[in-house]
C-alpha cells in the first residue's frame, strides 16, 4: 500500500509539483496546437463548449463524491440525473427558471432518498440498488414526459421546449480583450486567453453555481464538524457509531445530497447544454461523472480537473468537422503519455512505464498513419479516455475505507 505523508513540507512540495505538471501540460498543448496548426484546439468557442460539457459531469461527480465519502456507492447517478432533466423542464415550464432548478434538485434528491432507503435501511447491495434506480429513472421519465408534456405547447411525448432557463452573463472588457488575444495565435498566451475568454463569455449562472459548489463541497466536507462526521461514516462507520454519530442519518443526508447534485446536473443538461428536454438526455454522463470522481481520487478539486478533461473530450465531439482536430489530439495524448511514462520510469515503476510508453507509441503510429479520425470514433473519445485514464491511474487512487461495505447498527466492538 502506498502511504501519503501529510507533513506540511510534503504538502507544499505536492502543491509545487502540481503547478509544474499543470504548466508542462499547458506548454505541451500549446506546442501541439502550433505544430499541427489546429487552432480550434484552444479557441474560446471550443473551450466554452468544453466547459458546458464538463459541468453536468462535474455535478454528477460531486454527487458521487458526497455519497461515497459517506460510504455509499451511488451508481444510480445516471437515473437521478434523468429525473433531474424532467424536473427542470416541468417546473421551469410552469413556474420559471429557478423553480426548474429547484425542481430538478428535488427530483434527483428523491432518487437519492430511494437509494438511501434501499442501501441504508434495507441493506441492499449498493450496485444492485443503483442499477435499479437507473432503470426506474429511465422508465419514470419516459412515463412522466408522455403523461405531462404531450399536451403542452412546444411539448411532445418525448420532449419539451420553450421553458425559461437561467440567465447568461458576459463579463464586459475581459471577455472581448481575451478574445482578441486568443485570435492572435501566440504561443501559450493565446491558449490561456482562449480559456479566459471561454469562461467569461455568455456564462450561464448555473455554470457559476456548479463551480461554486466545488468549493462549497470541499469546505463542508473538510472544514466543518458535519463534514468530519459524514466522512467518518465512509472511513469507519463502527468507530463513528461508538462516538455517538448517527451513522444511518448521515448516510441518508449524504445520499440525498448526492441525488440533489445529480439532479442539478440533469437541470444543467436540460437548461444550459441544450434549451430543451428530451427523454434519455443524460446519455451516460452519470457514469462518466462516477469515473471523474474516481479519477479525481474522491477529492473535489480532483473531480473538477477530471471532469474538465472528460468535458473537453465530450465538447470536441460536438464540433463540426472535428476529424483533423481529434487527429491532432492523438499527437497530444501520445506526448503527454510519454511524459507520464518517463515520470513513472524515474520513480522505479518500470512495468507501468513500459505499458504507458507502449500505448503512447501506438497512438503516435496511429497519428502518422492517418490524416483524420472518423467521426464515429470522436463520439467514443470520452469513454476511451476514461478507460485509459483509469487503467493508468488506478493504482494511485484511494477510496474511503468503508466505501460500499454494508453497515448495520450495533455491531461495533
Amino acid at each position: 500500500m502506498t502511504r501519503t505523508i501529510a507533513s506540511p513540507a510534503a504538502v507544499r512540495q505536492v502543491r509545487y509539483l502540481t503547478w509544474i505538471v499543470v504548466l508542462a501540460v499547458l506548454i505541451t498543448v500549446s506546442l501541439v496546437r502550433v505544430l499541427t496548426d489546429q487552432n480550434r484546439m484552444t479557441t474560446p468557442g471550443t473551450l466554452r463548449l468544453a466547459l458546458i460539457a464538463a459541468c453536468p459531469i462535474l455535478l454528477a461527480g460531486l454527487g458521487g463524491l458526497w455519497a461515497e465519502r459517506a460510504g455509499i456507492v451511488n451508481i444510480g447517478l445516471e437515473g437521478q440525473m434523468l429525473l433531474g432533466t424532467w424536473g427542470a423542464a416541468f417546473f421551469a415550464y410552469h413556474f420559471g427558471a429557478w423553480a426548474g432548478v429547484a425542481g430538478a434538485i428535488a427530483m434527483g434528491a428523491l432518487g437519492g432518498l430511494l437509494h438511501g432507503l434501499a442501501t441504508v435501511t434495507f441493506g441492499v447491495d449498493h450496485i444492485i440498488s443503483g442499477v435499479a434506480i437507473n432503470i426506474i429513472g429511465l422508465g419514470a421519465v419516459g412515463y412522466l414526459a408522455q403523461t405531462f408534456f404531450d399536451g403542452y405547447e412546444g411539448g411532445g411525448p418525448r420532449n419539451l421546449s420553450g421553458y425559461a432557463v437561467p440567465r447568461e452573463v458576459t463579463i464586459p472588457g475581459i471577455s472581448s480583450a481575451a478574445r482578441w488575444v486568443s485570435e492572435q495565435r501566440w504561443f501559450l498566451i493565446s491558449d490561456v486567453a482562449g480559456a479566459i475568454a471561454g469562461v467569461t463569455t455568455r456564462l450561464s449562472l448555473l455554470t457559476i453555481l456548479a463551480l461554486l459548489l466545488v468549493a462549497f463541497t470541499a469546505w463542508v466536507l473538510w472544514r466543518t464538524p458535519f463534514g468530519l462526521r459524514l466522512r467518518s461514516c465512509g472511513e469507519s462507520p463502527q468507530a463513528a457509531e461508538t462516538l455517538g454519530v448517527n451513522v444511518y442519518l448521515y448516510k441518508y443526508i449524504a445520499v440525498v445530497i448526492s441525488g440533489g447534485f445529480a439532479g442539478l446536473g440533469g437541470a444543467y443538461l436540460a437548461m444550459v447544454a441544450s434549451s430543451s428536454f428530451t427523454t434519455g438526455q443524460t446519455n451516460g454522463r452519470g457514469y462518466i461523472g462516477l469515473a471523474s470522481m474516481i479519477f479525481g481520487n474522491w477529492n473535489p478539486t480532483g473531480v473538477l480537473a477530471s471532469s474538465l478533461m472528460f468535458g473537453y473530450a465530450d465538447g470536441i465531439s460536438l464540433l463540426s468537422n472535428n476529424g483533423p482536430l481529434v487527429h491532432a489530439i492523438l499527437l497530444l495524448l501520445a506526448v503527454l503519455l510519454l511524459g507520464y511514462a518517463a515520470l513513472k520510469f524515474r520513480r522505479g515503476e518500470r512495468m507501468t512505464a513500459y505499458v504507458v510508453a507502449g500505448i503512447a507509441v501506438a497512438l503516435f503510429a496511429w497519428y502518422l498513419a492517418v490524416d483524420s479520425v472518423p467521426s464515429d470514433f470522436t463520439g467514443m473519445t470520452p469513454y476511451i479516455l476514461t478507460l485509459f485514464v483509469l487503467a493508468v491511474a488506478a493504482q494511485r487512487l484511494r477510496m474511503p475505507a468503508a466505501d460500499g461495505k454494508p453497515y448495520r447498527k450495533g455491531q461495533a466492538g
Partner: protein
C-alpha cells in the same frame, strides 16, 4: 465515579449472553473483569457503553439510575470505552479521530489540537495530532483510543483486553498510564483473561463465567490458581512439552531467503533456518516484522526474491501453493477468516479446500462429496469440533471450533511439515488446550513444526528452539527452557537480551 450494574440480562436469539450480572466499580480504582472467551464480558461492556441495550437490570452511576440507548448517552454520563479491535478510521488524522462526535467541545481546529496536545503531554502519551492513524503502531493507536476517551472527559474508562496486542514492555507503559489516570481520580474497568496482569494492576476483581458474575476476589490475597478455578471451574492448562523428540533429519531448510517488495522495501533479509523431524521451532517477534511474509514465502503464496527452500530434499522454492501442499505441508493461517475457511461453505466443503487434488476429497477428476463428508465427520470426532453436523456452515461455529476443524484438516493426508501461525488466537481456553495437544502430538509423530505466535507463554512452552525476528532479520536464537517472557519481549523489540 462509582458505577453499579444490577441484575443485567441480555438475550440474543438462541443464546443468553448475560444474566444476573452484578458489578460495582469503586471510584478511583482499577477494577478487573476476568473470564474466558465467550463468558459474556464483551456483551456486558457493550451494554455499559450503550452499544447494545440490556433486556433487564439497571445501571447506576453515582447513585443515579441511567438508561443508555446509544454510546452518546454513556459518553455524556462520563463513561468511555477502548475496544479490543480499535475503533479508529485509518485514513483520518489522530485529531480527526479524537474530535469526531465531540466537535461541540472545542471545535475541530486549533483549539481542539491544543487540547489534544495538552492531554497527551499530561499523561506522557507522546502523540502528534496531525499524523494519519494508518501510520501509527499498535501501542500508539491504543494511546489514541485512550486520548479519545479522555478528551471527552470520561471518568470511567473501559479497556477491553488492552494487553492482547502489546509486548510486555508496552504493557508496562500502559499500566503506568493507567495508574496515573487512577491517581487523577478516574476509574478503570479492565477486561482480561491474563491472570498475572490482572493481579498486577487491579484493585478489585470480578469473575464472569457463562454469562454471569460468579464471584469477586481481592488481588492482595488471591492466587492465579483460585482465579483460574473461578474462571473455568478447573485448573488452567499450560503449554508444556514432554520428552525430547528432536531428530537430525531436516524437514525444511531455508537458505538465504530474501524478499523485497515492489517498492524496494526489504521484508525478509537473508534468512537461514532448518526444522528437523519432531522439532517445533518458534518464531518470536512483534507483529509486522516479517512473520507473515515468511509463511507466505514457504507456502508459495509469494516468491522469494533470493534464496532457496528445501522440503525433504526437494527444492520447493518455485512451486505453487497447491504443489507445496501436495508435498505434505499443512498450514494453519493467522487469519482463519481470510485464509483458513470459507465462512459460508459447509464443513464438508471446507474439508475439500486445500485438498482438492487428493483422496478422499476427490475421485478422478471429480469431487467426492461422500468421501469429503465422511472425512469431515472423522475430523469432527477426532478433534472434538462442536457442531450439529458436517452440513453446518463454518460461520455458525465459534472461533475455537473453526480452528480445531482447520487443525484437523491440515493434519489429514500425512503432512511432514506444519506451519502454525497464531494457532490459538481468539480461541477459548478449552480449545487452546486441545490445539496445544494436537501440535504436541504432531511433534511426537515426527512432523516438523514452524510456530508463529504473539502469545509468549505459548512460544516458550511449546517450542524446542526460538528464533527472534526483527525487521525481517533473525536477530537472536534463544533456548525456551531458559528464557523468560520478559527477556523474550526485550529481544523482540531489539533490546539487549
Amino acid at each position: 465515579m462509582q458505577v453499579e450494574l444490577r441484575g443485567i440480562a441480555k438475550r440474543f436469539p438462541g443464546v443468553i449472553a448475560n444474566h444476573d450480572v452484578d458489578l460495582t466499580i469503586r471510584a478511583g480504582a482499577v477494577h478487573a473483569l476476568i473470564g474466558e472467551n465467550g463468558a459474556g464480558k464483551s456483551t456486558l461492556m457493550k451494554i455499559l457503553y450503550g452499544v447494545q441495550g440490556a433486556d433487564d437490570g439497571t445501571i447506576v452511576v453515582d447513585g443515579r439510575e441511567r438508561h443508555f440507548s446509544s454510546p452518546t448517552d454513556a459518553i455524556e454520563a462520563g463513561i468511555g470505552m477502548v475496544f479490543q479491535h480499535f475503533m479508529l478510521a485509518d485514513n483520518l488524522t489522530v485529531l480527526e479521530n479524537i474530535v469526531l462526535g465531540a466537535e461541540k467541545m472545542h471545535g475541530i481546529g486549533e483549539k481542539a489540537r491544543g487540547r489534544v496536545r495538552e492531554i497527551s503531554a499530561e499523561f506522557g502519551f507522546d502523540i502528534d495530532p496531525d499524523v494519519r492513524v494508518a501510520e501509527l503502531g499498535v501501542a500508539a493507536r491504543q494511546r489514541v483510543e485512550i486520548l479519545k476517551v479522555l478528551y471527552r472527559g470520561a471518568r470511567l474508562i473501559i479497556l477491553d483486553e488492552p494487553t492482547a496486542v502489546l509486548v510486555p514492555q508496552e504493557v508496562e507503559v500502559l499500566f503506568a498510564n493507567l495508574r496515573e489516570l487512577v491517581a487523577s481520580g478516574c476509574s478503570v474497568l479492565f477486561i482480561s483473561h491474563k491472570l498475572d496482569e490482572v493481579l498486577q494492576i487491579a484493585d478489585d476483581i470480578t469473575v464472569m463465567r457463562r454469562g454471569t458474575t460468579v464471584g469477586t476476589a481481592d488481588p492482595a490475597t488471591a492466587t492465579r490458581q483460585q482465579l483460574a478455578e473461578l474462571m473455568v471451574g478447573a485448573e488452567l492448562p499450560s503449554p508444556e512439552l514432554s520428552a525430547d523428540t528432536v531428530t537430525d533429519t531436516p524437514v525444511l531448510s531455508l537458505r538465504s531467503i530474501s524478499l523485497v517488495d515492489d517498492t524496494g522495501r526489504t521484508l525478509l533479509a537473508d534468512l537461514d533456518l532448518t526444522i528437523h523431524r519432531g522439532e517445533i521451532v518458534g518464531i518470536a517477534g512483534v507483529e509486522g516484522n516479517g512473520q507473515t511474509e515468511l509463511v507466505e514465502v514457504i507456502m508459495g503464496m509469494r516468491r522469494a526474491t533470493e534464496g532457496s527452500i528445501v522440503l525433504a530434499e526437494e527444492d520447493i522454492t518455485r512451486l505453487s501453493v497447491r504443489k507445496v501442499r501436495e508435498r505434505g505441508v499443512g498450514f494453519i493461517p493467522e487469519d482463519r477468516h481470510r485464509h483458513g475457511v470459507v465462512l459460508d461453505f459447509s464443513l464438508w466443503e471446507n474439508r475439500i479446500l486445500g485438498h482438492q487434488t487428493t483422496a478422499p476429497a476427490v475421485r478422478g477428476p471429480l469431487l467426492s462429496p461422500g468421501g469429503a463428508r465422511r472425512d469431515a465427520e472423522r475430523i469432527i470426532d477426532a478433534y472434538d469440533v462442536r457442531t450439529p453436523s458436517v452440513h453446518t456452515t463454518a460461520r455458525a461455529l465459534s472461533g475455537g471450533n473453526q480452528q480445531k476443524f482447520i487443525v484437523g484438516r491440515e493434519m489429514s493426508g500425512d503432512p511432514i511439515l506444519l506451519l502454525a501461525s497464531h494457532p490459538t488466537r481468539g480461541v477459548d481456553v478449552g480449545a487452546q488446550a486441545a490445539i496445544w495437544d494436537h501440535i504436541r502430538r504432531a511433534r511426537q509423530e515426527g512432523l516438523g513444526v514452524l510456530l508463529i505466535s504473539a502469545d509468549l507463554d505459548e512460544l516458550i512452552g511449546l517450542s524446542d528452539r526460538l528464533e527472534v525476528i526483527l525487521r525481517g532479520h533473525f536477530t537472536a536464537q534463544l533456548d525456551p527452557r531458559e528464557v523468560t517472557a520478559q527477556e523474550l519481549g526485550t529481544a523482540m523489540t531489539g533490546g539487549a537480551a
